[in-house]
């Protein structure tokens, strides 16, 4: 168990810059999740922490030790790979004990550690099996077991559930969360699945194009995204982003006119830098949208598509005469149907304001 400190770390392949200066501190015992779209550098950053990938500049420290230029084994990390990476010619117990055996650990110690990992992961019945005789979930448990027996300072998970089917993924997700509670080690987990990120993380690190966009608790990021990227990336369906324009700005009081829509008054923290006439983006989560009868709401809309998900309904709305589409997440009792002519009402307290720089402006209080 240890804290991980990443300072001004970069990674370049020739002229291509993959990681563009990342600073990050992960406290001891934290479950940190790196999340971001494909190619954002999250796996590269994880591999740099493990030592499998060289660091172009900057430093990585685990505990008090600078591991930037150390060989992989000396960093004290253990990694669980997406592909499991089990040795196919070895049994489950041989897979788990391989590293210890190669490093000359005493036999009794090896047996004790393998037994302990097998107990934690309920692998006791499978110790003599070969990987090909195991299901995907069991293989992934063995891969985690192989990490546990090393008693690493930091566990690294590289998209460990991507190869599993949906139901098994949920089950393994719970098991990983339970494992973290049980052994309390520092864990860094890479995924592109925001549900995994939201459910597992103590803190989420959102990466995009080799840079950290925002770091925070799952709720922090969901409720107060720092910029348009984080706002659009977290949340399913994505946040609706509407074009708008500053109508008037007087100190912290700002009124904003939504394109094809109403005038909304908000109070923003000082230093928002918005001036009358300046274009802005308004963000609103699908679950903050209310559907009202046409004429009563602020923005008329037509229901184009309705998706029934059982406990809720996703409605795709189009503003008449515009190309803009808005997604609403409604209760199943909403009774919305394709072709309904309705109007959109905003829950103003839940509006997010982004400037032309893409950064969020902090809300102070709410006024309609």
């Amino acid at each position: 168990m240890s804290d991980v400190a990443i300072e001004a770390v970069t990674k370049t392949f020739g002229a291509v810059s993959i990681i563009k200066g990342v600073d990050l501190a992960i406290p001891t015992g934290e479950f940190a999740v790196f999340v971001g779209p494909s190619g954002c550098g999250k796996s590269t950053l994880l591999r740099m922490i493990s030592g499998l990938e060289s660091v172009s500049s900057g430093t990585i420290r685990i505990g008090d030790v600078d591991v930037t230029r150390r060989p992989p084994a000396e960093g004290g990390t253990a990694m669980v790979f997406q592909s499991y990476a089990l040795y196919p010619h070895m049994s489950v117990s041989e897979n788990m004990s391989f590293g210890l055996r190669m490093n000359g650990a005493p036999r009794a110690e090896i047996e004790r550690r393998v037994g302990e990992a097998a107990r934690i992961l309920q692998l006791e019945q499978l110790l003599d099996r070969r990987p090909k005789q195991l299901s995907g979930g069991q293989r992934q448990r063995v891969a985690i077991g192989r990490a546990i027996v090393r008693h690493p300072k930091v566990f690294l998970f590289d998209e460990p559930l991507s190869n599993l089917d949906a139901s098994l993924r949920v089950q393994m997700r719970v098991e990983i969360a339970r494992l973290h509670q049980e052994i309390g080690a520092t864990m860094i987990y890479v995924t592109h699945d925001q549900v995994e990120a939201m459910t597992l993380a103590d803190r989420i690190v959102v990466l995009n194009a080799g840079k950290v966009e925002q770091v925070g608790t799952p709720l922090d990021l969901y409720e107060r995204p720092a910029n348009l990227f984080v706002a659009g990336f977290l949340g399913q369906p994505s946040m609706n982003i509407l074009d708008a324009c500053v109508h008037a700005a007087d100190g912290t009081q700002v009124s904003i006119r939504v394109a094809h829509g109403p005038l909304i008054g908000l109070e923003l923290a000082a230093g928002h830098g918005l001036a009358a006439g300046e274009p802005v983006k308004l963000g609103i989560r699908p679950d903050a949208i209310r559907l009202q009868p046409r004429g009563r709401g602020e923005m008329p809309a037509d229901v184009e598509i309705v998706e029934h998900l059982g406990d809720e309904v996703i409605a795709y709305l189009r503003l008449p005469g515009t190309p803009e589409a808005i997604i609403a997440k409604l209760e199943k009792s909403s009774g919305v149907r394709v072709g309904d002519a309705c109007a959109i009402g905003f829950a103003v307290p839940e509006l997010h304001v982004f400037g032309t720089d893409g950064l969020a402006r902090t809300r102070l209080a709410h006024s309609a």
Partner: protein, 283 residues
């Protein structure tokens, strides 16, 4: 007739044609072997009277008795083993080492070096025959087994490197990385992880190299002079008399000479199993 049954009928027709073609080819390839096999069990008189394909009048085993009684044959077999086993082992060992580096530890320019090594396969041995003779003559190794061992070890490197490099490329990188993270060194990864799952490739190489070196005729012909340094293939030719060809004895020795390669094949064929990497990664 339905479309399905018509299709089946056409398929059967092609199947029969293919079967006949393959049978004819197989017989053509087997014919010389069958001829040699038959003459091994015929007396000299039997051979002189009949043709190559006639069945022996009686099962005649004296040809075998004669070659087993011949002390030279034992020397030929031992010499051949002394060349084949070390040269096979050396060429495979070097090919494994080089193949692992090219597949898993590439460095700047390694692809070019790999190309250079593999292009060695395309040199006809005749080109290097005279320089090699001069070299081994200068080293005083003519009429010893060393030239054959060294040449076969060296000439086996390209094919062994190519095959092992290609096989190691299919071993997932994650296996090596997982082992590296566990503090396992590169040599242990090669011997404990990469090689055990490369048994099919090793089996193919061992069979190929053993057969090729065992059956070699050219290099022993060039580098050996005395009878006690001959390998089995040279011995086979030298078994004829001054005025006659002992077909029966040569046939018997041909069969004996081919036994080790058959045994090697039978031994290794059980490792020719695909899917050894199954279960290593997503499967």
């Amino acid at each position: 007739m339905s479309a399905a049954s018509e299709h089946k009928h056409v398929g059967d027709g092609w199947g029969a044609v293919t079967f006949i073609c393959l049978t004819v080819l197989a017989l053509l390839f087997l014919a010389p072997t069958i001829g040699v096999l038959l003459s091994a069990f015929k007396s000299t008189r039997d051979i002189a009277l009949g043709d190559l394909w006639s069945l022996p009048q009686a099962l005649y085993l004296d040809n075998f008795a004669e070659i087993f009684a011949n002390p030279s044959v034992r020397i030929y077999l031992v010499n051949t083993l002394l060349v084949t086993v070390p040269a096979t082992a050396a060429s495979i060992a070097l090919g494994v080492a080089a193949g692992y580096v090219f597949a898993k530890l590439p460095f700047r320019g390694s692809d070019l070096i790999f190309l250079g090594v593999v292009s060695g396969m395309f040199f006809p041995p005749q080109i290097i025959l005279i320089p090699l003779f001069k070299l081994f003559n200068a080293l005083g190794l003519i009429d010893t087994l060393w030239p054959m061992i060294l040449i076969h070890s060296a000439m086996g490197i390209p094919i062994c490197t190519l095959l092992m490099r290609n096989f190691f490329s299919t071993v997932p990188n994650a296996l090596r990385e997982a082992a590296l993270l566990e503090g396992v060194n590169e040599w242990q990864i090669l011997t404990r992880v990469a090689l055990p799952i490369s048994l099919p490739a090793l089996a193919v190489l061992a069979t190929l190299q053993f057969t090729w070196i065992w059956n070699d005729f050219l290099w022993p012909l060039i580098f050996t002079q005395s009878d006690d340094k001959r390998t089995i293939m040279l011995g086979l030719v030298s078994l004829r008399g001054q005025y006659s060809v002992a077909w029966g004895v040569q046939g018997a020795l041909s069969i004996v000479a081919s036994l080790p390669t058959q045994v090697i094949f039978l031994f290794f064929q059980r490792f020719f199993i695909r899917g050894m990497t199954m279960g290593a990664v997503k499967g």
